[in-house]
Amino acid sequence: MKEYTLGKKASAIVFHQLFTVLTSACLYTMDYFIARRMPENGMIFSMLSIAGLVGGFIALAYLTNAAGRKSEEDTEVSFNVVDRIYGDILTAVFIFLVWSIVHIALKLRFQAFTLAGLLVAVGTLSYLLDAVFLLFYLSIVRRVKGDILFRQTFFYQVYRLFAGVLGRKRKSFVRILIYLAGAVVLPAAAGIFVWYHINWGIAVCVLLGIAAVYLFLRRSEERYRIREALEAVADGALDTKLQLEAFHGQEKELAEAVNNIRAGLSEAVTESIRNERMKADLITNVSHDIKTPLTSIINYVDLLKRENLENENAQNYIRILDAKSQRLKQLTEDLVEASKISSGNVQLDMQRIDLVELIYQIGGEFNEKFETQELTVVTKLPNGSVMIEADGRQLYRAIENLYINVAKYAMEKTRVFVEVAAEGDTAVFSIKNITRNPILFRQEQGMDLSERFVRGEASRTTEGSGLGLSIAKNLTFLMGGSFHIEVNGDLFIVTLAFKIA
């Protein structure tokens, strides 16, 4: 793809101007020599002027092609300030400017200049002429490309205005009359006033100018404050309220709208926090109610185990009851935990702690659990400490859940990689393992393993509540860390990152 960068366009413009200046300078020099009856001296200059013409034409062709586009494939035409001027007005201005410059240029012939002085004057004029020409020509090219050559004209606008007025309701027709009065009658009156009382006119103009500048400044200042407030709201500062008395006109309406958005958002956030809290409370209460009968189930299953049951089937049934009631217990505990954490209902005791020490400590807790599954833990830790700001107990719970996950889902007799690294001002912890069963979820489907109850496999009969990663993620977020899961085939990677304190 060929890009039309600003730099390329600018150099094409410069080339074009140089070639134009060269051409006209050569033409004038030829004229100078012919007037002094030395045509043989003019030969070389005629060659040069032709070269200048060709070069200028090539540059112009490139600019014509590139005008309004950012690259070859760019179909969107971008316009600039000049393009906003109505085409007919622009043409009038262009003709006027060209006429003025040509007028001066024609005079040059009859002035008695030395050759050097003549060349400087001719160069300057042709440079100006070319600048005006390029501005006009390229703008027209862009208009043609963007198909607005005719729409972007004063005559078209007036035509549309009248067409609109005839087709619309009277109210706006009246309004347009007032606008016309404002746009035509008042300037005309002012013009007549200025014409007859020139000094008064200047005073009025100065006053009007000051008023205009004041209004303009006030308006941009108010806009700036509205923008600031909007940015604050976007950043989550929902207590920013704009004082409406300090705003005027349109800005007042804008400020009011910003205030409304803020109020609405703040209400929605409060509502959602309350809902999450209520949900957490509900889950806690329900879990209390579940725990009481569950206690009896667990106790009596245990008592049943102690009865000397001969029947092999009965023993098997009891073993199943035992396992399932324990799982139910784990599920209720995890559920309460997860809902509490996701509603932010956790007391954090933030301290400076050593991530490396924590990993050693956790390693000690899990060492035998992993050994029984013949999982080899390969740890790569920095020699010194890596200090972060966190609640040690909650961070332990988060990482513990990752280790439990490994114990549950890693393939036996494989290696588990645990790593802590300081990358710049970030402490990164990662744990990688090979999963026993293929992970049946697709990231592109928008599923997220760290969502509550989302699990890497379809069946729900294996141990695990589907809450471990959700708990770990939410705890990490609460402590200001980041949490990332990556699944690459059977390789499962969880990465936690904290700012180094």
Binding site: S287, H288, K291, T292, L294, T295, S296, I297, I298, N299, Y300, D302, L303, K329, E333, V336, Q347, Q351, I353, D354, L355, E357, L358, Y360, Q361, I362, G363, G364, E365, N367, E368, T379, N383, A390, G392, R393, L395, Y396
Partner: protein, 232 residues
């Protein structure tokens, strides 16, 4: 020994009764706080297990009232698992807090432990030699003996030395490398899980529930310490 069991769920009371009777305890049963206080006032009770959420008089208020009457060990048994619930329970005068659903064996172990401490402390046994104490955990460094609530615990020499280091500096947190340097007398270069594995083994031996240690606390990301708490 008589244990008062109070819970509004009859089946739970009966299950506890079965377990404790197997261990040779006498049982008295109550199904709300008022009954429990009434039975307590009659006397002859050595320990009380009480539920929190009960009709008439809840476990927290019952515990408060019971403390006016006697100093017997009280174990709160509750479905409420929040830290704040546990702190509240221990603050109103309970000696231990067990959450439902509980492991029956763990409950029995806690009952035994509370009773041993209660009786051994009241019969002021002779203290001789160099003793280090933290609650029910006692190290007799002259005889190289560790007891928890009066019951001896067998530790390996390394485990013993680690525990002794922590007991001599109650309340102080030791990092893994500090423990390593103190016990092995060499610099800890590229430490590994050795120390933390030993610590877990010690916890498994001296704690009823190693996941919720009473004595050897883990300060995550910092180190290990023996809780320096006053008798109570």
């Amino acid at each position: 020994m008589t244990v008062l069991v109070c819970d509004d769920d009859k089946e739970i009371v009966e299950a506890i009764e079965i377990y404790l009777k197997q261990e040779g305890y006498e049982i008295k049963k109550a199904y709300d706080g008022e009954q429990a206080i009434a039975l307590l006032k009659q006397g002859g009770i050595d320990l009380m297990i009480i539920d929190v959420m009960m009709p008439k008089l809840d476990g927290i208020r019952a515990t408060l009232q019971a403390r006016e009457e006697s100093s017997i060990p009280i174990i709160i048994l509750s479905a409420k698992t929040e830290d704040s619930d546990k702190i509240l329970g221990l603050n109103v005068g309970a000696d231990d807090y067990v959450t439902k659903p509980f492991n029956p064996l763990e409950l029995v172990a806690r009952v035994k432990s509370q009773l041993r401490r209660y009786t051994s402390l009241s019969s002021s046994f002779e203290k001789e030699g160099q003793l280090y104490e933290a609650g029910g955990l006692v190290i007799d460094d002259d005889r190289k003996m560790v007891t928890v609530d009066g019951e001896e615990v067998k530790l390996t020499p390394i485990e013993y030395n680690i525990l002794l280091l922590l007991m001599k500096n109650k309340g102080k947190v030791f990092s893994i490398s500090q423990i390593y340097e103190n016990i092995w007398n060499e610099e800890a270069i590229g430490a590994d899980n050795t120390v933390s594995v030993h610590i877990r083994h010690i916890r498994e031996k001296i704690e009823i529930n190693p996941r919720e240690p009473r004595y050897l606390k883990v300060v995550w990301g910092v180190g290990y310490k023996i809780e320096n708490r006053e008798e109570g």
